[in-house]
């Protein structure tokens, strides 16, 4: 990653313009040619630094209901339980963590009823209690990483 990549990634995290030539707007602001920007973005995507370039939506405002769940899964059952949990497309993130509750996942569904049903199904399939911790107040969601030449 060189200075040009860093400038590009910092800009892309804030978002491109909604004009017909967003990368031309970006080129003018960064002082890098549009051609270079396009080529670099594809290279950064190929190298896996960019997970996705696209719409970043606000899921509550999109009408979605979500929650963070945790389960205490016995070591030997982790693969099987993970498979059951991950089978839902509504489960977007799932991590094993170093806590008594060792499996943590987020569920985002199109209604509160769907959300409840999924949690109940996971509990009844696995026989393990699912604790649900929905948001009461959002203070911050800003997944932008300040990049500099140390990286």
């Amino acid at each position: 990653m060189d200075q040009v990549d860093i400038k590009i990634l910092n800009y892309l995290q804030e978002g491109i313009t909604l004009s017909p030539r967003p990368f031309l707007d970006m080129a003018r602001e960064l002082g890098i040619s549009e051609e270079t920007i396009l080529a670099r973005i594809e290279a950064l995507r190929d190298r896996g630094l960019i997970r996705r370039l696209g719409g970043v939506f606000d899921s509550p405002r999109m009408g979605m209901k979500s929650t963070l769940c945790a389960m205490e899964v016995p070591e030997a059952r982790i693969p099987e339980v993970a498979q059951q949990v991950n089978a839902y497309r509504e489960v977007t993130h799932n991590y094993l963590r170093n806590d008594v509750y060792n499996m943590w996942f987020t569920v985002t569904a199109s209604s509160g009823e769907d959300l409840e049903r999924i949690l109940q199904e996971i509990e009844s399939y696995t026989g393990i209690k699912v604790i649900s911790m929905p948001v009461r107040q959002r203070y911050k969601i800003k997944v932008a990483f300040a990049l500099n030449d140390e990286t």
Partner: protein, 155 residues
């Protein structure tokens, strides 16, 4: 096609990957059977409603140097929630800060995601957040393994 269908198509397309080409919204237009102007107008509408935060990049944070990450959960009194929530939110290395409803037996109600470039930096940030907020009861929950990471399917 109703306005609702048009919006649905654009959302469906934009939750995927946008190509890096001179006129990316023209590509979306071709894929959705709309005009470029219509696509941009829908996007502006979604942004005004707060449904679309931006068209931008989501990075793999480990690959860009932020490979020391933790979920840190804090025990905060209800009347103190906004002060602590806003204080933690102001830290640039905190990406998410939420007050969550928690069940009996789980006293930690402020959830933060902290990202740093080294384990040392991570420890330092957590220590600083604790000192600044005056919250001494917290737990650092690190991820051992990623089992799944995808995007929300809206449509």
């Amino acid at each position: 096609m109703t306005r609702h269908d048009i919006i649905d198509r654009v959302i469906k397309e934009l939750q995927g990957d946008l190509p890096a080409v001179y006129r990316p919204y023209q590509v979306v237009a071709e894929r959705t059977g709309l005009s470029e102007e219509e696509v941009i107008s829908v996007l502006n509408g979604l942004r005004e409603k707060g449904m679309l935060k931006r068209i931008g990049a989501v990075l793999r944070h480990q690959k860009v140097g932020y490979d020391a990450n933790a979920m840190v959960v804090w025990k905060v009194a209800e009347e103190d929630m906004d002060r602590v929530g806003n204080l933690m939110a102001a830290c640039p290395l905190v990406s998410h800060c939420y007050w969550r409803e928690t069940p009996a037996g789980w006293p930690f109600n402020i959830f933060t995601m902290v990202h740093a470039r080294s384990h040392q930096e991570l420890q330092a940030v957590i220590h600083e957040l604790s000192c600044k907020s005056g919250i001494g009861e917290y737990r650092v929950i690190e991820s051992v393994r990623e089992l799944k990471k995808t995007s929300v399917q809206y449509r």
